[in-house]
C-alpha cells in the first residue's frame, strides 16, 4: 500500500500549489500586462518594458488611451466594434437556425439523397477553411452585389469584396455544428415527434416547438463555438474587408498596430477593449464553455 506521512502530504500540497501559481502567473501575465499598460502613457510603458515587475506595476495611470479610442475620429473604434458585433451575431444566428434545420432533416426526415448528403456533410468537416480561402476570394469578387443601403438608391455592383455581407455568408452554415446537432438529435427519443405529428403538427413545427426546446445544451455549445470562431477570426476578414466601415475589430487592431506603431498605450487599450467582451461572456457562462469544449472533443 502506498501511504504518505502527514509531512509528505503537506510537502506535496505545497509543491502542487507552487506549480499552479507559477502556471497561473505564466498564463495571466501577458493579459495583465496588456490591461495595466492600457492605462499608461507610451513613455511609461516604454520604461516599464525592461522588467517583468515593471510591466505589471500600475504607476501614473491615465484614461487618455481610452478617451482617444472612444472620441478621436482616426481611431474608428466604434465602427470596427459595430462591424464585429453585426458579423458575429449574424453568423451565430444563422448557424443555430440553418445547421439545426439541416441536422433535423438528416436525422428525422426521409428524402432522396439523404444518406449521401449526410456523408458529404461529414466529409466536409475535414476541409480546412485555409484550403478554400483563395478560390473563394476569387469567386466572391465576381459575384454581383445588390446594394440596398446605398444613398443613391438600390445599385448593383460587381464583387462582394469589402462588405459585411461577404464576411457572414460563407460561415452561415458549417459542417461541424451540423454534426454536433445531428449527434444530439439522435439521442432524443422519436416518441416526442410522433406524438406531435399525431396532434397534426408539421415537420417545421416539430423542429421548432418540440426538438429545439429540448436541445438547450447543444444550442449553447454551437453558440459558444461559433461565437469564439466568428469574433476572433482573422484570415477571411483580412482578405475581404479593408475599410473601417466594414472591417471587424481584429483587422482594425492590425491596421491600428501598423499605423500607430509607437502609441503602445492606445494599442493595449484597443486590445483590452476587444478582449473584454469575450472575457465577460466567458466568465459569465464559464460552465457552458467548459462543457462545450469538453463535449466537442472526444466524439470526433
Amino acid at each position: 500500500m502506498y501511504v504518505q506521512t502527514q509531512s509528505q502530504k503537506i510537502m506535496r500540497l505545497a509543491f502542487h500549489y507552487t506549480a499552479m501559481l507559477a502556471m497561473a502567473f505564466y498564463f495571466i501575465f501577458p493579459m495583465l500586462f496588456m490591461f495595466i499598460s492600457s492605462f499608461k502613457t507610451k513613455e511609461n510603458i516604454g520604461q516599464s518594458l525592461t522588467s517583468l515587475k515593471g510591466m505589471i506595476t500600475p504607476t501614473d495611470l491615465t484614461a487618455d488611451n481610452y478617451i482617444y479610442l472612444f472620441t478621436h475620429p482616426n481611431s474608428h473604434f466604434w465602427s470596427y466594434l459595430a462591424n464585429s458585433i453585426i458579423v458575429t451575431v449574424s453568423i451565430v444566428f444563422c448557424a443555430v437556425i440553418f445547421d439545426s434545420l439541416m441536422a433535423f432533416a438528416l436525422q428525422r426526415m426521409r428524402f432522396r439523397g439523404q444518406k449521401i448528403l449526410l456523408s458529404i456533410v461529414i466529409a466536409l468537416i475535414i476541409i480546412p477553411f485555409e484550403v478554400i480561402a483563395i478560390p473563394l476570394l476569387m469567386m466572391v469578387s465576381k459575384l454581383p452585389y445588390i446594394d440596398i443601403f446605398n444613398e443613391g438608391g438600390i445599385t448593383i455592383q460587381q464583387g462582394w469584396i469589402n462588405t459585411r455581407f461577404v464576411q457572414i455568408l460563407p460561415f452561415a452554415a458549417r459542417a461541424f455544428p451540423i454534426f454536433l446537432f445531428y449527434q444530439f438529435f439522435r439521442d432524443i427519443p422519436k416518441d416526442f415527434d410522433e406524438a406531435a405529428y399525431m396532434d397534426g403538427a408539421n415537420s417545421w413545427q416539430v423542429w421548432w416547438r418540440i426538438i429545439m426546446p429540448m436541445s438547450g445544451p447543444v444550442i449553447a455549445t454551437v453558440i459558444i463555438l461559433e461565437f469564439l470562431f466568428a469574433w476572433n477570426q482573422y484570415l477571411w476578414p483580412v482578405l475581404v474587408a479593408f475599410t473601417p466601415d466594414v472591417a471587424p475589430t481584429p483587422v482594425g487592431l492590425g491596421t491600428f498596430f501598423s499605423s500607430e506603431g509607437p502609441e503602445l498605450g492606445r494599442i493595449m487599450a484597443y486590445g483590452s477593449l476587444i478582449t473584454a467582451p469575450v472575457l465577460i461572456v466567458f466568465l459569465a457562462f464559464q460552465r457552458f464553455f467548459v462543457r462545450s469544449v469538453m463535449g466537442s472533443g472526444i466524439k470526433g
Binding site: 499552479m20 501577458p30 437556425i97 434545420l101 476570394l137 475589430t249 487592431l253 492590425g254 469544449v293
Partner: protein, 336 residues
Amino acid sequence: MRFNLSSGGAMAFPATFLLFCFVVLPFLLAFMFSFTNQQFTSKNSQFLGFDNYKNILSVKTVTLRAELNENGDKVFPKMRSILRQDEEWKRAKPLYKIPFISHEGKQVYIIAKDVTFWRAIINTCLFVLFVVPLQCGTALMLALLVRKKLWGRNFFRTAFFIPVVTSMVVVSIVWKFILQSDGAINQLFNLNIDWLNNSATAMLAIVVMSAWQGAGYQMLIFLAGLQSIPEERYEAAAIDGAGPLQTFLHITVPGLRNTILFIIISTTMAAFALFVQIDVLTKGGPNDATQTLVYHAVRMGADQHKIGYASAISVIYFIIILIIAFAQKHIMDKGE
C-alpha cells in the same frame, strides 16, 4: 412532382445550398484553378496541366566547381551566371548547400524553382514538430494540476483558459512587446536576443507563444478524458503500493490513450494552418525564416494575384491534411 414545403429536402435546402456555394464549390475551384494560370483580374486563363505543381515542387542539384582566377586563387563561379544559361531553371534559387560532398574545389547546392515554398514546408513542419509536444504536454500538465478538487481550482482553470478566448491578433501584439530585444524575457534570462527579428529564433518564439495561447483548450479535453478513468483503478494502484509516477504511467496514460491521440491529431492539423501569428508579427521574415504554407498561399493569391498558383499550394496543403486524417483513422481503428 409537387414541391412539398414540409419535406426533408425543403428543410435541408438552406444549409445544403450554403455549403455547396461556399465550401464545395470553392473546394472544386481550388483543384480547377490549380491547373490554370488564373489571375485575379484577367478574364482569360489558360490550361497549364501540372505546370503549377512542377514549378512549386521542382528541385535539383547544381554543382559549382572552383576555377583559378588571374591571381591563382580558387574562386567559385556565381550561381546566377550558371543558371542564366538554362531557360527552365533561370529563376531558381539555392535552397540548401549539401555539406558532406561540398569541399574547397566543389560546392553542391539543392536549388528550387520556388525556394519560398520549400522554406514554408520546412518551417511549417518544424513548427508542428515543436508546438504539438509543447502544447499537448503543457495541456496535460495543466489538466493534472486542476484535476483534484483543491481549493481555488476553478480560479486556476479559468486562468489557464483565458488565452484561448483571446484573439490571436491581440495575443501576437502583446507578445511582441514581451519578446522585444530590450524586453522582459531577455532581462529575466539575462539574454540579448531580438527574438522575432533573428531567423534562428523567430519560429521558436512563435512556437512558445502559440502553445501558450492554445494549451487551455486541450487542457479541458484532457480533463474530460481524465473524468472517464474510473476512480477504482487509482484506488487499486494505491493499494498495490504504486507511487505517483507509476500511477501516472500505468493508470493515467493508458486511460487517456484515445484522448491523447485525438488531441495530438487535432493539434497537428490546426498547427499546419499557421497564419495569423506570421501575418501580425513577422510577415514571413526574416529571410523566409517564418514562411508557412498558408501564408505563402495567401501572399501568392491575395497579394500577387496568382490565383492558379496559390490554389495549387492550397491543394498540396489539403493533401497533407488528408494524409494526417487517414493516419488518425488508421490508428483509431487499430486501437479498437
